[in-house]
């Protein structure tokens, strides 16, 4: 059932589907009747002008916002209303628009926190440390070190992330999301505020992640060039409504999208 793309990657069946999501904050509608799906292995972009409801959409998927109407289906099952950490345990990881790293902790600890959903040794073993807890720690440390190598952040392993420059912080945040080894990775403007060089690096990471780990990625991005290059399919939101949904080419030529982005009568 997997259909190969031009570059030979495998796109599988539907991983996540949102159906008729409506979300409002005290009368203000942030999302109206949104439906779309994300397929296994693909890179899915969500675009739209400021205030279109993109981040709200990610927050709904992460379980941080609870929509008034609509359903979220994940891996073929309807998701009951759950707390964000339960969503994370199901295998959804994400980054944030404004960096949400744990500033008091080192890079290494931030990444290790990303693996929290996979670590299970209880308080007692943790207190003893020697034995099971240490073995678990080392096992996970190895996987995290792999990600550190992958992102090329070996030198800042022990640096508190609060002291790092912006670009590196973004990279660490990506690393933390990667460490979760999630089925679905949500990236909220991973390239915002970066210079060209940094953007190129970030694009490479995203493609590599998708390639190497086969991770499904949904991302929000403003840089159209990046979006068109990276993504397999794009969904366009405007004022909380879905404008268009399709491959980059389809979306680029959609009159409604052109109107929303460039204004009437250009």
């Amino acid at each position: 059932m997997a259909e190969p793309t031009q570059d030979g990657r495998k796109i599988g069946g539907t991983l996540l589907e949102v159906k008729n999501i409506t979300l409002s904050f005290g009368g203000v509608k942030a999302l109206t009747d949104i439906s779309f799906d994300i397929k296994e292995g693909e890179i899915r972009a969500i675009i739209g002008p400021n205030g279109a409801g993109k981040s709200s959409m990610l927050n709904v998927i992460s379980g941080f916002y609870h929509p008034q109407q609509g359903e979220v289906w994940f891996r073929g099952q309807k998701r009951a209303s759950m707390r964000p950490y339960e969503v994370a345990r199901q295998g959804i990881a994400r980054t944030f628009q404004n960096i949400a790293l744990f500033k008091g902790m080192s890079t290494l600890d931030n990444l290790m926190t990303g693996r929290i959903t996979h670590m299970h040794k209880n308080l007692f073993w943790q207190a003893i440390w020697k034995g099971p807890a240490e073995r678990e720690e080392i096992a996970h440390r190895e996987r995290v070190e792999h990600i550190i190598d992958f992102l090329g952040i070996q030198a800042i392993r022990k640096t508190p992330v609060g002291r790092l420059p912006y670009g590196l912080q973004k990279r660490v945040e990506l690393g933390r999301a990667l460490a979760a080894e999630a089925k679905l990775l949500l990236l909220d403007e991973p390239m915002a505020g970066m210079n060209l060089e940094e953007k190129e690096d970030m694009c490479r990471f995203i493609l590599d992640v998708n390639d190497e780990f086969g991770t499904t990625i949904a991302l929000i991005e403003h840089d159209m060039g990046v979006v068109m290059d990276l993504s397999d399919r794009v969904v366009v939101l405007d004022y909380g409504k879905k404008l268009a949904d399709g491959t980059p080419n389809e979306v680029r030529n959609d009159p409604a999208v052109i109107e929303a982005y460039l204004g009437v009568g250009h």
């Binding site: 990881a93 926190t113 943790q126 440390w129 807890a133 440390r141």
Partner: protein
């Protein structure tokens, strides 16, 4: 030149994750521990025990506990005094009900009981944050003190309302009561504090510690990446109260020998422990010790210098002592807002780079 990291290579993750990664640190800590365990017991007398060492150990234990909650998990609590009272009263009831029980077991059980109470009073933290939570925890402080005053069962219906620690022995040597030799009470407390300091270190460097720190640094993001806030916060309350309960039990049974709720565990104690961890350093095990040392030893030091050394009238000295402690607190916060532990860390970093600062 002596203090350095370079050349101290780690060849395994386990070596990199060890408690004191720098060789010199390691040697220093083991040296201090050896001195504390092997030399001090032969030098100790009543004065050093009751005025310096026991208070330091008891408060260090309490500071460790509060630092877990406030420093590592970011939940400011002013209920410490109340939880210490829970530990003390639990200890008393256990000592009286089970006279044959080993004192280590009694103190640890008292800690466990306090942990349960702590979880109960930690529940509001799921909704209330910051200073609102800090003030809300005062509710537990006032309520617990009131309870221990009001319900005679807690003090076994004694006419005075005081609780007094009966004599208990360990290996045939009294460890509580007036006959307990200073070295015994000292070693008892030192053992507990040392063991639980290492345990605290283990907890904060592993999964649980990271989930606490994640909640502290950014609770929403922590929840979204998979840290259950309920579990993280309540486990912090439980572990923290466990330590504080043990410190309360030690304070009652070994240090003071008798206690009364409002005198010994009043609101002033809650503030004192909070000062200790802020002065010492939030989120630092070493900081808990430094803070406890600073605030228990400094008053004694100032008093001895001013009254004993300069012969000033005690009342002037007492007022001046308050003034100086206040001034020193402000001074240290201006110099290094992140506490004595950070000051120490910065000094070490300088030392490490010396003589080539760049």
């Amino acid at each position: 030149m002596l203090y350095r990291e370079s050349g101290d290579f780690k060849t395994s993750y386990s070596a990199d994750q060890q408690t004191f990664p720098i060789r010199l640190d390691r040697h220093m800590v083991y040296g201090i521990l050896a001195f504390a365990f092997l030399v001090v017991p032969f030098l100790i007398n009543d004065y050093w025990e009751k005025s310096v060492l026991l208070p330091f150990l008891v408060w260090a234990m309490a500071a460790l506990g509060l630092n877990i909650l406030t420093g590592f998990c970011g939940q400011v609590s002013l209920g410490t005094g109340g939880f210490m009272a829970v530990g003390a009263y639990a200890c008393y009831k256990l000592m009286v009900a089970f006279p044959w029980l080993n004192m280590f077991v009694v103190v640890i059980l008292a800690g466990l009981i306090t942990a349960m109470v702590g979880v109960l009073f930690g529940l509001p933290s799921l909704r209330i944050k910051g200073f609102y939570l800090a003030v809300a925890t005062l509710a537990s402080q006032f309520f617990l003190i009131w309870l221990f005053n009001k319900v005679p069962w807690f003090y076994n219906y004694s006419a005075s309302g005081m609780i007094a620690a009966p004599e208990r022995t360990l290996l045939g040597i009294p460890v509580t009561g007036a006959e307990a030799p200073p070295w015994m009470t000292y070693l008892f407390c030192l053992t507990l504090v040392t063991v639980f300091a290492f345990i605290a270190h283990n907890l904060v460097r592993g999964r649980i510690g990271r989930s606490w720190m994640a909640i502290r640094d950014m609770d929403i993001a922590a929840e979204i990446i998979g840290v259950p806030p309920l579990k993280a916060k309540l486990s912090a309350f439980a572990v923290s109260s466990f330590y504080i309960g043990m410190s309360g039990a030690m304070m009652f049974a070994l240090y003071l020998g008798s206690a009364e709720p409002s005198d010994s565990f009043g609101i002033a104690k809650s503030f004192l422990v909070l000062f200790m961890i802020i002065i010492g350093g939030l989120g630092s095990i070493l900081g808990s010790f430094l803070g406890a040392a600073f605030l228990t030893l400094l008053p004694v030091l100032l008093k001895n210098i001013m009254v004993g050394g300069f012969g000033w009238p005690p009342d002037l000295a007492a007022h001046l002592e308050l003034l100086l402690i206040g001034a020193l607190i402000m001074f240290f916060l201006i110099v290094e807002p992140h506490g004595l532990a950070q000051l120490w860390r910065v000094t070490k970093e300088r030392l490490r780079l010396w003589p080539f600062p760049h």
